[in-house]
């Protein structure tokens, strides 16, 4: 049906409306590439066959994508008079229930319901669906959509892209009609200029100005080009726009064609988007058939046609001059500008090129006016931009937000924060031409200028979120590898410069770069940026330059410490577990040795890596579990419990003495050097052990009567039996370490004296000051801090605990206090202001506490402690909170409500965080951080005073045992290197010969978890809760290891 006048146009519109809002139910399946990839085709066919089978009067249509990729396949269903229901994760087996529900006015299965749309503003037209379903949230209240403004995506996922009538039904081609009737091209260009529409391809040039250049260019032969050569890794907004709503693109080009005097439009689409190509071809065919394209557009005497050209896949062809070369049939290499395409473009004729998304903004601007358009966005960047939010966030998808929206809104509010609660480190915007922005800059508004100031770009709108598992050096290397491969090779900086930058970055990831490489790489990248011919080369160094700016420490880690914290750079790690372990234990080795039945060798392997294997085997936070690749098959290998068993089997048996001798054999010749260590906690013990093995004379001072620090005086007996700890300390002592107990360094002996008597001093006093909250009532009798409480119990001292105890806090000390108080016979409630998943305590410990009858009040912020006349605690009042906005830690901020809860109690234990002793630190005269921790060199651990080293909680603030020991070990290596002038650590380690054959297939056994003593029984005493693995279970557990430490010999 050819549209030749307004009556015909209206008739087509009516026909379209009858399809969009028929007199029967309508089901529309989201069938973009993303939906189809997630099974939308099968869902469509399931609906079709069910409808045919039951002879239902239901209309079925394919639509594009509504944007919520994480919840594909998306389906929307509508029954006359009712709101449109958005359904998510629809599977073929849901179809009957959905059809049944809409047939009877009911709701589809609850797990599929995402939200409802009562009315939709297509900007060019308005659709009212209906009302009802009071229990279903509005689509705009769904967190992922909240705050989104759909201008570009106004039709996506709602209208059938294969049907021009549905497009016309929602007001499509009306703006074009208006422009053709008004016959005032200059006014339209003024409108686009006034709307401050900027190119959405990334450069942000004002579209209206570009059109004006073209309109003023003489002659009838002019070209309009749509750049749909989208190629950034992680970006797919253009694909989705074309797949979901091809006619909006055609309308934008038609309007521009009329106002600039061009007669030909060309859409350059990459061939890798077959569905977009197909839908666009179909749209062009339909537009010609309906008289929208052709010699007489809409009967108004205007001639315009659009051709589609498929790009062969070179990334550089997204650059406009390379795109022109490609259109001319040459190889896609950029030309120099001037001359600009507006002067001499395609075939030497004036040419205007706009990005796909730019064209989508044209019709709404024409129909609603520039004033409406500039209401959205920031002053310099009007309107919205579609971003593809991908990477390590929970909700991924296409997000259309007003320009100027802060990054945090994207990542936390819409994205829902990190996957499985992990901390987000950075976001990469603009693809290979952009840069990485660190998490502490997430308040940055997303617009052209601000991102450029940070060294990144908005680009086409890719937004890749990264967490601690991403290595920023590797990310930079990845993007340079991409741009180096996509460089056309014409100009020297891009062709050779990127190749050399890649070679240098490879040296970083392999751990063979040097300090000199950082400035060299930086200078090279600046040269490539400043002198390359086209945008590809000029922006390609951005990922490196921004990473060097914001994440320089990661580059330094790769050079100095030869470590990749993220565990991505394979050459710098033995295996993911080893890399995650603060002590860098060779975990696969002891698993394999145990598997081969070589218990003593396994113990030797463990103890050479970690002198407190029984203690850490019980209380370590086991970061190895989070990194184990076995988790991809079933669950991580239980490495911690295996090394606990190995330790117990030796330490608590008569083989102890024999093995101690084997460790002593590893000691190097006495050096005559003397080192003093302050603090006999895990940090000090680890350092003392290795220094003794190096052959130095070591004295450890501690103010308490025995060694072990927090392990002895804060960790309850039921978690860590002191018999095991005693044996570990005995082993360390037998390496020659001497202890001086009950000595208060600073009072009994000064640091200066230590400095005079020793060649080096290592400070590891930990964090023994309990933090204090300023809460009304903390002065009352019955309010006690957690650490002194735990220490008193550990020393068997009299403990003033009543029968009803409230513990304030959510860390391990809070849970330890609660479970200890439980064992003293009290009724215990833990009060914590956030949600359970935000608790820093080990999850297994929280669970065990609950089994033992500890109650936990989540989302309750202590408000005041109520006392009686005698000054005794009577109750705790807490304000009920609800999760609010995300804060800098990526957790939801607790927001107080009006509800106050009261918990009757006679004791309040404060476990709100431990701090460094400020008196000691100040008296030391060493440089301190603002939070009271000690300043050390990141790599050597040397303090501001020569030959004084520090480690553990003293430099990090309260942490955990394995972190603390990691610092002790590192300090020992550095002190030895300083004293002896060479690296000698490797000399300590014995050689182990064990199987280096990876398992042919993963052992088919699940993870073994040690049994626990029954909760009712264990709360009666301090018996150990975890009973440990049996040797048989441990042997099976070792067979589960995938041996990531073995590399193929071809490498």
């Amino acid at each position: 049906m050819r549209i030749a006048d307004i009556a015909a146009f209206a008739a087509v519109r009516e026909a379209g409306l009858a399809k969009l809002l028929p007199s029967r139910p309508r089901i529309a399946v989201g069938m973009g590439t993303c939906g189809s990839g997630n099974g939308a085709e099968a869902v469509y066919h399931a609906f079709k066959s069910a409808i045919d089978r039951h002879g239902l009067d239901v209309q079925l249509a394919p639509v594009g994508c509504f944007g919520f990729c994480a919840e594909e396949p998306l389906v929307n269903v509508w029954a006359p008079g009712r709101p449109l229901l958005m359904l998510r994760r629809v599977q073929p087996h849901h179809t009957d229930a959905i059809l049944d529900a809409i047939g009877h006015g009911g709701l589809p299965p609850a797990e599929t319901i995402l939200g409802k749309i009562e009315a939709w503003d297509h900007l060019t037209g308005h659709i009212k669906y209906g009302s009802g379903y009071p229990d279903v949230p509005l689509w705009s209240d769904v967190p992922f959509f909240h705050g989104q403004v759909k201008i570009v995506l106004r039709n996506c996922g709602l209208v059938n892209p294969d049907d021009i009538e549905e497009y016309i039904a929602v007001g499509g081609y009306q703006a074009l009609y208006k422009v053709l009737i008004d016959q005032n091209p200059a006014a339209v260009i003024e409108q686009v200029k006034a709307a401050k529409l900027r190119g959405r391809g990334g450069a942000g040039f004002l579209t209206g100005n570009k059109w004006e250049f073209l309109a003023k260019a003489p002659g009838p032969d002019k070209y309009l080009v749509c750049n749909a050569d989208e190629g950034d890794p992680g970006a797919y907004m253009n694909r989705n726009e074309i797949e979901s709503d091809p006619h909006s693109l055609l309308e934008g080009m038609l309007i521009a064609g009329f106002v600039t005097g061009a007669r030909r439009g060309i859409v350059y689409v990459r061939a890798e988007y077959p569905l977009a190509v197909m839908r666009l071809e179909q749209a062009i065919d339909q537009a010609r058939e309906y008289g929208v394209l052709g010699d007489n557009v809409l009967g108004r005497g205007f001639a315009f046609d659009i051709d589609l050209v498929e790009g062969a896949g070179a990334f550089v062809c997204g650059e406009e001059t390379a795109l022109i070369e490609s259109l001319e049939g040459k190889s896609g290499r950029p030309r120099t500008r001037p001359p600009f395409p507006a002067q001499r473009g395609l075939f030497g004729r004036p040419t205007n090129i706009n990005n796909v998304e730019t064209w989508y903004n044209v019709a709404p601007i024409v129909s609603k006016g520039p004033a409406w358009f500039t209401e959205t966005g920031s002053p310099k960047s009007a309107g919205t931009k579609v971003f593809s939010l991908v990477g390590k966030v929970q909700n991924t998808g296409l997000v259309e937000m007003p320009l100027g929206t802060p990054l945090s809104t994207f990542i936390y509010d819409i994205g829902g924060g990190g996957t499985s609660g992990r901390d987000i480190k950075a976001v990469q915007t603009g693809g290979p031409s952009g840069g990485c922005i660190p998490a502490d800059m997430f308040d940055t508004p997303v617009d052209y200028e601000t991102l450029a100031q940070l060294g990144s770009i908005m680009g086409s709108g890719g937004m890749v979120v990264m967490d601690a598992d991403n290595c920023m050096v590797d990310v930079a290397r990845y993007f340079i590898e991409f741009t180096h491969a996509e460089s056309c090779g014409k100009c020297v900086p891009c062709r050779v410069g990127l190749d050399k930058a890649l070679r240098m970055l490879n040296r970083f990831t392999q751990g063979v770069a040097t300090q000199d490489d950082i400035p060299l790489l930086d200078e090279l990248c600046r040269m490539v940026r400043d002198t390359s011919l086209c945008g590809l080369g000029q922006s390609a160094p951005n990922p490196v330059l921004t990473s060097l700016r914001h994440f320089r420490h990661e580059f330094e880690d790769h050079i100095v410490a030869k470590r990749c914290r993220a565990g991505v750079c394979q050459d710098l790690a033995l295996s993911p577990c080893e890399n995650s372990c603060p002590l860098h234990m060779n975990i696969p080795r002891f698993l394999q040795l145990y598997n081969e039945g070589r218990l003593e060798d396994a113990f030797l392997s463990v103890v050479m890596d970690n002198p407190l294997p029984a203690s850490t085997g019980r209380v370590c936070q086991h970061p190895c579990d989070n990194r184990c690749r076995r988790a991809g098959i079933d669950e991580p290998v239980n490495m911690r419990d295996v090394h606990r068993l190995i330790a117990d089997e030796i330490l608590l048996s008569d083989r102890f003495d024999a093995v101690v001798e084997r460790v002593r054999e590893r000691r190097l010749e006495p050096t005559g050097r003397e080192v003093a260590i302050v603090g006999a906690g895990p940090t000090g013990l680890a350092c003392a052990y290795y220094l003794a093995l190096f052959g130095h004379s070591v004295v450890v001072y501690d103010s308490r009567p025995a060694a072990g620090g927090m392990l002895r005086y804060a960790l309850p007996e039921y978690r860590l039996p002191k018999a095991a700890l005693d044996r570990e300390i005995e082993l360390i002592e037998r390496m020659g370490v001497r202890f001086q107990f009950n000595v208060d360094v600073g009072n009994d002996i000064s640091l200066n004296d230590l400095a005079h008597q020793h060649d080096a001093v290592f400070l590891a006093i930990g964090t023994w000051k309990e933090g204090w909250v300023y809460l009304p009532g903390t002065e009352l009798t019955g309010v006690i801090p957690a650490l002194p409480f735990l220490e008193a119990v550990a020393r068997n001292d009299e403990v003033p605990v009543g029968s009803k105890v409230v513990v304030i806090g959510g860390g391990n000390a809070a849970i330890d206090s609660a479970r200890t108080a439980r064992r003293l016979g009290a009724e215990v409630t833990v009060v914590y202001r956030r949600e359970r998943r935000d608790m820093p305590a080990i999850p297994e410990e929280i669970e065990a506490a609950e089994h033992e009858g500890v109650r936990v009040a989540y989302l309750a912020a202590p408000h005041r402690i109520v006392g009686d006349k005698s000054g005794q605690v009577r109750a705790l009042e807490a304000v009920r909170t609800k999760p609010g906005e995300f804060d800098a830690s990526g957790r939801r901020k607790p927001v107080p409500t009006d509800e106050v809860i009261r918990i009757e109690c006679d004791t309040v234990i404060l476990a709100v965080g431990e701090k460094v002793d400020p008196d000691f630190c100040r008296a030391s005269g060493l440089t301190l951080n603002e939070d009271g921790t000690m300043v050390v060199d990141r790599y050597s651990l040397e303090t501001s005073r020569e030959r004084f080293y520090a480690g553990g909680d003293l430099i990090t603030g309260a942490s955990n045992v394995s972190n603390a020991m990691g610092y002790g070990k590192k300090a020992a290596r550095n002190i030895d290197k300083r004293l002896m002038g060479q690296k000698r650590f490797a000399q300590l380690l014995p050689e182990f010969v064990y199987s280096m054959e990876p398992p042919e297939s993963p052992a088919e056994v699940g993870r073994h978890t040690p049994p626990e003593a029954p909760a009712a029984q264990r709360v009666q005493s301090y018996q150990e809760v975890s009973l440990g693995l049996t040797p048989v279970a441990a042997l099976e557990e070792t067979s589960r290891c995938l041996r990531c430490d073995i590399r193929s010999s071809e490498r």
Partner: protein, 235 residues
């Protein structure tokens, strides 16, 4: 276009014709701007980026060979940054392929070598690629040594624009870009080659040479191209 414009190059006011490039104006007035892919008589492509200059009021550096002069423009042909960038570009070219001057026929008459000497390139700070590249000796009179090629494209333009044969082109992309004769045929089998040898004369390095010369013996007649162009324009 005979409109006159006044520009300032390194402080000196110079009168030029509108439409001339900065490089043309500079060279005509004895202001030196280094360049490798530029050759008088050929179209400029702005590929080597050695002729980048600073122009007042323009934030970015611009290539002198393709940027037309504008009235009132002030151009700086050198600065510490430009020197450093040019030096890097030259180092990159040396590191890209195997430029071993000691065994090169063009040593002593090589534009790359001369530029390196002028810019004080005493060593290369970037890792050498040391690619294994072929030498095409199939042509009876000439030889193409890919090891010495800097991909300036002067041979390509000379053959296409002056001789009209278009034997040469660049294939591949990025670091794998390389010169090809006639759809990847060996040079000696290229039927479109007229054996005129102008490409050899246009080549700035020892990548293209006449057979029969030893180390340091290959001198080239650089003015062949510009003389031909000006003669044709005059006719």
């Amino acid at each position: 276009m005979t409109e006159k414009v006044k520009v300032r190059i390194d402080g000196e006011v110079i009168s030029a014709t509108a439409g001339q490039t900065i490089l043309e104006v500079a060279r005509a007035n004895n202001k030196y701007i280094p360049a490798l892919c530029y050759m008088e008589g050929l179209t400029s492509v702005g590929a080597c980026r050695l002729c980048m200059v600073e122009v007042s009021g323009v934030a970015k550096l611009v290539p002198a060979c393709t940027t037309p002069v504008q009235e009132g423009q002030a151009v700086a042909t050198t600065s510490p940054q430009l020197d450093s960038y040019r030096k890097i570009a030259l180092e990159l070219l040396f590191a890209e392929r195997n430029h071993v001057c000691a065994v090169c026929v063009s040593s002593g008459h090589c534009e790359l070598q001369t530029l390196a000497q002028e810019h004080g390139v005493t060593h290369v700070r970037y890792p050498y690629s040391c690619p294994r590249l072929p030498v095409d000796t199939t042509h009876p009179r000439y030889v193409l040594d890919h090891n010495r090629c800097v991909l300036c494209g002067r041979c390509v333009r000379t053959c296409a624009e002056i001789e009209g044969a278009h034997v040469w082109d660049v294939a591949g992309r990025g670091i794998t870009s390389h010169l090809v004769s006639e759809l990847q045929r060996p040079w000696g089998e290229a039927t479109s080659c007229t054996s005129c040898g102008k490409c050899v004369q246009a080549c700035p390095t020892g990548a293209m040479a006449e057979k029969g010369w030893g180390v340091e013996e290959m001198t080239k007649h650089r003015t062949v191209v510009s003389r031909l162009t000006s003669m044709r324009e005059g006719s």
